[in-house]
Symmetry: none
Subunit: 142 residues, 4 copies
DNA sequence: GTGGTCTAGACCACG
DNA sequence: GTGGTCTAGACCACC
């Protein structure tokens, strides 16, 4: 599982962790029964305070995504994949809705929105290709 | 000018006011020289704390969108329409970018995103039509 | 609202706060729209760390009992009384069930349990009377 | 001796083991001189970590309930039956007291408490009957 | 003034 | 080793 923290796009770190764990479960990068990295390890990996990770894991337990296995850590629950897959698009939809609502309330036309979306999708792909080629270059160099 | 506060979509109220004033200028609902409602009137209308409106107006002055006219309040500057029109799509683009970035980082495909966008656009149109028909009804009743 | 923290009967402080707030709502000591004491004030009153109170209030928000009023604090939601009243006995029942289950699994008879309950109820009443008479004495002294 | 671990009713596993051994002694399911199952057998039977069983046995030795017999394991001491019988109700009373105290502090009336107790006793009996009939069925099938 | 986030670190319970 | 609780305090955003 590969997490990526964005300080700060306005979303608190603990929530970014929550969401990404849910996405990882939805994408089967995390399977039922898998242990999530320990609080301390995750904190080290992300270079954040252990309490921040702890808070995220606590929320994930409250959501029924993780369950504590006494003394051994936190594991993905059997219900998690269902939950997370059904939430997968909703998590994005919710944020998207807020943006589009503002746009429409302020006379941005649907076509303008579609254009924005396409241009941003292209931009993201461009970035990704760039990273990909960097990776390739790095591998070639290595 | 018709403002609409959303408590809370995560955007602070004062910023919602700012943005909506800018959109209103871009859409010519507010023209050069027009006065914005006084702090206390706006606060009453939106049912928010006057300090909050005050903060928004302060930011708008710093952005060069509003200018104080001694004794009479705040008016739209001559430079405002240009600024606001060029910012119009960028304000949306910025927020949209953050959402799409999360989506792409978590294996949501471009097509899934497009579908989400279309369904949300439809949903918004439906809501608007509903409100419109209510308005018509209200007018007929009146 | 009068809270009473028991350090430590095994229940974490933040959870004691949660439960007592819920009981207070159920008993109408806290009504819809009432503000709960601020984090800092409550922390001072109970002589605990503000973060501990904060955690309790956060949980109560997640439970839909409290709602933040931006800049002014946390208020009891309209749904809270219903929730809390229906939870009132359940919160006790849950804890009671665990105790009785252990008793029955280990051959404590129903009659022995009833006797224990009665003797403890009496003991509590005795304590209460004692406090009451102390209060009276204090008042008389004053 | 038939132990039953409840993960997790809040009581640590090692303490559940302790308590149940004591109850077993009080109920003469374990008699003076009887050996308790070895750490590893007990651990296997309960599907818990051997360290956990070990900790429980250590506590029971400290309490004078078990005594090590060189080379053969742990046996019930001669003093154990007396101790355990006198502790039998107290172990329950202690837990019960905490629950009732919370109830009374939060305006649950004695009659409400009695009703809760009765309904939970009935519920437990119902569960037991169910299990009993299952056992009978199993025996008949066998 | 309000609550929220994050950091830092101590201590404990559990396995 | 694991996570949980609590304390302490800094900083921020908002009203």
């Amino acid at each position: 599982m590969q997490l990526h923290i964005e300080t700060s796009n306005g979303i608190p770190i603990y929530e970014q962790i929550c969401r990404q764990v849910k996405f990882a479960v939805a994408n089967k990068a995390l399977q039922v029964g898998d242990h999530v990295p320990s609080v301390r390890e995750m904190a080290g990996r992300l270079a954040v305070n252990p309490n921040t990770v702890s808070r995220a894991y606590r929320d994930l337990q409250a959501d029924g995504v993780l369950i504590p296995i006494r003394g051994t850590g936190l594991a993905v629950t059997p219900e998690a994949p269902g939950k997370c897959q059904s939430e997968r698009l909703d998590m994005i939809r919710e944020r998207l809705r807020l943006v589009l609502a503002e746009a429409r309330h302020n006379q941005i036309t649907p076509d303008e929105i579609r254009q924005l979306v396409e241009s941003e999708l292209q931009r993201l792909d461009a970035l990704e290709d760039e990273n990909a080629s960097q990776l390739v270059t790095a591998e070639e160099t290595a």
